[in-house]
């Protein structure tokens, strides 16, 4: 009788939950922010871009199938291979994996959503609009043609005068907003909202992989964002960062690009390896061998992959000793990969393997990826690297690593999680045909390409003479690529058809161990009717009745009285429930903000600078309005969150996911600043014609005075936020206004110095860098003052008080960051060069 009552109550709650978490109907679905919706949108859009990138690859292989063909001109071929690489790397590989992570992470960690769902939606729209802008260049026949890594000076205005490079630089930077958003959100969500009891040592390996990937995005993408901004400034405003004659250096681009580019390979590989580490134990019917060692391997990969970038530049003229450092580091990265491969093999060895469709793709992955890894070690050796540099050997290696290391596990993962999304099973028969065609076609294409490269065929040539020994190899490679294309088409057909013709899936059809399989198939928008409590690494193997108990409301957070989207906020290590989080619901802010940013991007491309300025201001206003409406509710209703245990709301505490989000964002910001610092010192020491004035461009005393004002403002803000955390809010608004006043004085003085500075930023790389750092400081100073001003206004409205002390705690790290960066900049950009004297 008690059970019946519980089940009935649960049904009522479930209806209310469904109502609270529902997307808006019709066009209103564009305002959806739920992670399932956004994750699926990312994946579907990514697959569309994959098809476009695949068609480009087919055109490339058609052109190269026979010698001396003229199906494509040199220029069109240049556009196609540049776009093929860019589309596959930036518009397919990363977004589709982010989409998978966005879709799966809350389900795997026992949550109802990611913690910043509106940021997910913003990220998606930035990705979509950025991708469309880039693809438009192809339709117009003005796509970038300098390769997917856009080396200067080839991509500079002298050698690429058209708008192709601009499309790449602005479009990719726009898309990178999406990657950064996902990186920050996934990091904080994994750390701050796991199921109760899901400690770090019980976290599914997939979450470890995504956590490290997300942090790698946070640190890895800023160098490319900076490089893209600098190159666009050079092209549009003539600031000569990469021009030798004015004191710049084209090699700076290569450094910044590969500072991003090599970690990028592992950013793509790690989620794919996460899929492998999830699937192998399931199909082996036993836990993974060496869980701790796999975690060690993941963290190792995350770090070492940042120390390899120069192996892409072994031929540019670097001292032997420096080459040796990077050669050793490049070989070292094989160690964590090997740890994971051995853990997978040991799990297969000790388990009873069931070779269902996903396992076929995993086996293909193991074979291809290990081969790609071995050629990677070969390329880490400097003499060999010199021999095959810029040949088809490198192209073959890259595809073995990326297709083997990412595409095969991705398809395995899609087949594996398909029943969860659709409630239906794929066709084993079509799927197996698809696999064998893809596998054999891939190897025919790229195994032979190693030989083509060893025989000396350079990459990026649009045709070649007959009789060089490359003819039959190229022909077979092209045949293989078409076989592979047929295989991929069969896979996609299978994925599509199964929605109509697939057999109904039984509950947990693969007998998996992770929490997503405790959900309905397809899952409800709120995921869990009641939030689960986890007591082991394999919750569903440990307690097969868990899905029923969750559905019956035996977990936590079943009360829907608040009418808000709620989730637990848990501690990062021990996963103890500490807070009730009110997650934001459907919203038009992300779409409107992304549209405004798209207008900025398009008007910059068209050189309509007044419109760009207006759109940028509109975007800023929209984002600030969003932040205002996303803040604490004036009259929040706390649910009986945890079986009688009342947990405080995030807004009622001094710490929470918003603060974590700010800190992770500042880590990314810091990575961008460090990249700029690297560029400054690199140009100083390595640019052949670097020149700096004998005296600094700005009076140091005024800079010190300016810094003193910022220090006072920070001291004021720090004091008031501490008082607030201690439960005192006397004169809070007055203190905030004082802080705004001091900060504004700092901003105005800095702006005056900037306006008065005699910077020859179009003829000197030195002055151009100084201009960028001043703009960086001004932007941050303005932002921190505006945010403090908003806090003062929010105190007046009652959003911030001793009962709601949270928001100033979120802004405080930004103040500290800004002050740290300000003083560091003054020391390294303005004072240190004085000590060095003029360098001519």
């Amino acid at each position: 009788m008690t059970d019946m009552k519980k089940a009935t109550a649960s049904a009522a709650d479930v209806n209310k939950l469904a109502q609270i978490w529902a997307n808006l109907p019709g066009w209103g679905s564009l305002a959806a922010v739920n992670h399932s919706t956004i994750g699926l949108r990312f994946m579907v859009t990514g697959m569309v871009f994959f098809l476009i990138g695949g068609v480009l690859a087919m055109l490339i292989r058609t052109q190269l199938a026979l010698p001396e063909q003229s199906i494509l001109s040199a220029d069109v071929y240049g556009q196609l291979f540049s776009m093929h690489g860019s589309v596959m790397m930036f518009l397919f590989a990363i977004p589709v994996l982010e989409g998978l992570a966005i879709y799966l992470i809350p389900k795997m960690t026992g949550s109802r959503d990611l913690l910043f769902p509106r940021i997910s939606a913003l990220g998606y729209y930035c990705y979509l609009f950025g991708g469309i802008i880039i693809m438009f260049s192809l339709l117009l026949g003005i796509a970038p043609a300098s390769g997917w890594f856009m080396y200067t000076p080839l991509s500079s205005s002298e050698f690429s005068p058209g708008p192709g490079s601009d499309f790449w630089l602005l479009g990719i930077t726009f898309v990178e907003i999406s990657a950064m958003a996902a990186g920050i959100e996934l990091t904080v969500s994994i750390l701050c909202s796991r199921a109760k009891g899901m400690t770090l040592s019980r976290m599914p390996l997939f979450c470890w992989y995504i956590l490290v990937m997300a942090l790698m995005i946070v640190f890895g993408f800023p160098p490319l964002i900076l490089a893209s901004i600098l190159l666009e400034l050079e092209r549009a405003a003539g600031m000569p960062f990469f021009t030798v004659a004015a004191g710049g250096d084209p090699l700076l681009w290569q450094h910044l690009f590969w500072l991003f580019g090599h970690p990028e390979v592992y950013i793509i590989f790690l989620p794919a390896a996460g899929i492998v580490s999830t699937l192998i134990p399931v199909f082996s019917g036993r836990p993974i061998v060496g869980y701790r060692w796999v975690v060690i391997g993941i963290i190792l990969t995350g770090f070492i992959s940042f120390g390899l970038w120069v192996h892409h530049m072994f031929t540019v003229g670097i001292p032997q000793l420096a080459q040796a450092f990077f050669s050793v580091a490049s070989m070292l990265v094989a160690v964590p990969t090997a740890i994971q491969v051995f853990a997978w093999l040991a799990t297969l060895w000790y388990g009873k393997v069931v070779f269902r469709l996903p396992m076929l793709w995993i086996c293909g992955f193991l074979l291809i990826f290990v081969c790609g890894g071995l050629t990677g070690v070969m390329l880490a050796l400097v003499p060999f690297n010199w021999q095959v540099h810029d040949t088809h050997f490198v192209v073959a290696h890259m595809h073995y690593v990326l297709v083997g290391g990412m595409f095969f596990p991705l398809i395995a993962g899609l087949y594996y999680w398909l029943p969860l999304v659709s409630g239906r099973m794929p066709s084993e028969k079509i799927g197996r045909w698809g696999f064998w065609l893809t596998f054999s076609g891939f190897n025919l294409t790229f195994l032979l390409m190693h030989l083509t490269g060893l025989l000396g065929m350079p990459r990026r040539v649009y045709t070649y003479e007959a009789g060089l020994g490359w003819d039959w190899l190229n022909l077979l490679s092209s045949v293989g690529s078409f076989i592979m294309a047929i295989g991929v088409a069969m896979v996609l057909l299978d994925l599509l058809l199964h929605f109509w013709f697939g057999k109904r899936a039984s509950a947990n059809p693969w007998h998996a161990d992770t929490l997503e399989w405790a959900l309905d198939m397809p899952p409800a928008q709120y995921n869990f009717a009641s939030l689960p409590v986890v007591t082991s690494r394999q919750p569903l193997w440990h307690d097969p009745t868990l899905p029923q108990r969750i559905a019956a409301g035996e977990g936590g957070m079943t009360d829907t009285a608040s009418g808000r989207r709620e989730n637990w906020g848990t501690s990062a290590v021990g996963a103890r429930a500490e807070q009730t989080l009110h997650l934001p619901g459907n919203s038009w802010w992300p779409l409107c903000s992304a549209l405004a940013l798209a207008v900025v991007c398009i008007s910059l491309l068209c050189r309509w600078y007044p419109l760009a300025l207006l759109a940028a201001i509109a975007a800023l206003i929209l984002l600030l309005c969003w932040s205002w409406h996303n803040g604490a509710n004036l009259a929040p209703v706390a649910s009986a969150a945890d079986a009688g245990l009342a947990l405080p709301l995030e807004s009622q505490s001094s710490d929470g996911p918003g603060r974590w989000g700010m800190v992770v964002t500042l880590l990314a910001n810091g990575a961008l600043f460090m990249a700029l610092l690297f560029g400054w010192f690199y140009l100083w020491t390595a640019a052949p014609q670097w020149s700096a004035p004998a005296e600094g461009p700005l009076p140091v005393t005024l800079l010190l005075l300016c810094g003193a004002l910022a220090t006072v403002a920070l001291w004021q803000f720090n004091r008031l936020s501490r008082q607030l955390a201690d439960g005192q809010d006397s004169h809070l608004q007055r203190q905030l206004w004082w802080c705004v006043l001091t900060g504004s004085a700092h901003f105005i003085l800095l702006l005056s110095l900037f306006i008065m500075a005699p910077l020859a930023y179009t003829s000197s790389a030195h002055d151009a860098v100084i201009m960028v750092i001043l703009l960086y400081l001004l932007g941050h100073a303005g932002l921190v003052v505006v945010l403090t001003l908003l806090q003062a206004l929010r105190v007046a409205r009652g959003y911030v008080s001793k009962q709601r002390p949270y928001e100033p705690q979120v802004i405080k790290p930004l103040w500290f960051y800004y002050l740290g960066v300000y003083w560091l900049s003054i020391a390294l950009f303005f004072i240190l060069p004085l000590g060095w004297g003029p360098v001519l």
């Binding site: 770090l200 701790r292 190792l300 770090f303 001292p319 032997q320 070292l332 290590v573 020491t685």
Partner: protein
């Protein structure tokens, strides 16, 4: 107080500390080498026996010793029975191996300093 907690062997910060030290060492080696080669390159005739290589090797040994010390501390933490078998012990174990790996990466990465001239 927070910093003291961060330094404890069972704290999650230990998971990233070892390779953060390695990263700083790596940057110092590469940046130091590049800057010195531009500003005050040792004579090529000295081959690997010059003040710059000695300095870089000294830095390598100091970092190596620090990482090994931290690994030893982590190992002692794991071996002491007082830390149970939960997450702190897991963190202690993982970070100990990561310290050892970081030490190995430092040693292997620093060895070329003994044989190669710096600025050629």
């Amino acid at each position: 107080m927070t910093w003291r907690r961060w330094c404890e062997p069972g704290h999650p910060a230990q998971l990233v500390l070892g390779f953060s030290i390695w990263s700083i060492w790596f940057i110092a080696m590469y940046a130091g080498l590049s800057v010195v080669c531009q500003l005050a390159a040792p004579a090529p005739a000295d081959s690997a026996g010059n003040w710059l290589n000695y300095t870089l090797w000294g830095l390598t040994l100091v970092v190596l010793a620090l990482l090994l010390l931290l690994a030893w501390r982590g190992w002692r933490y794991c071996c002491s029975g007082q830390n149970g078998s939960g997450t702190p012990r897991f963190i202690g174990y993982v970070s100990t191996v990561l310290y050892l790996m970081a030490a190995l990466a430092t040693l292997v990465g620093g060895l070329p300093v003994l044989v190669l001239p710096p600025c050629i």
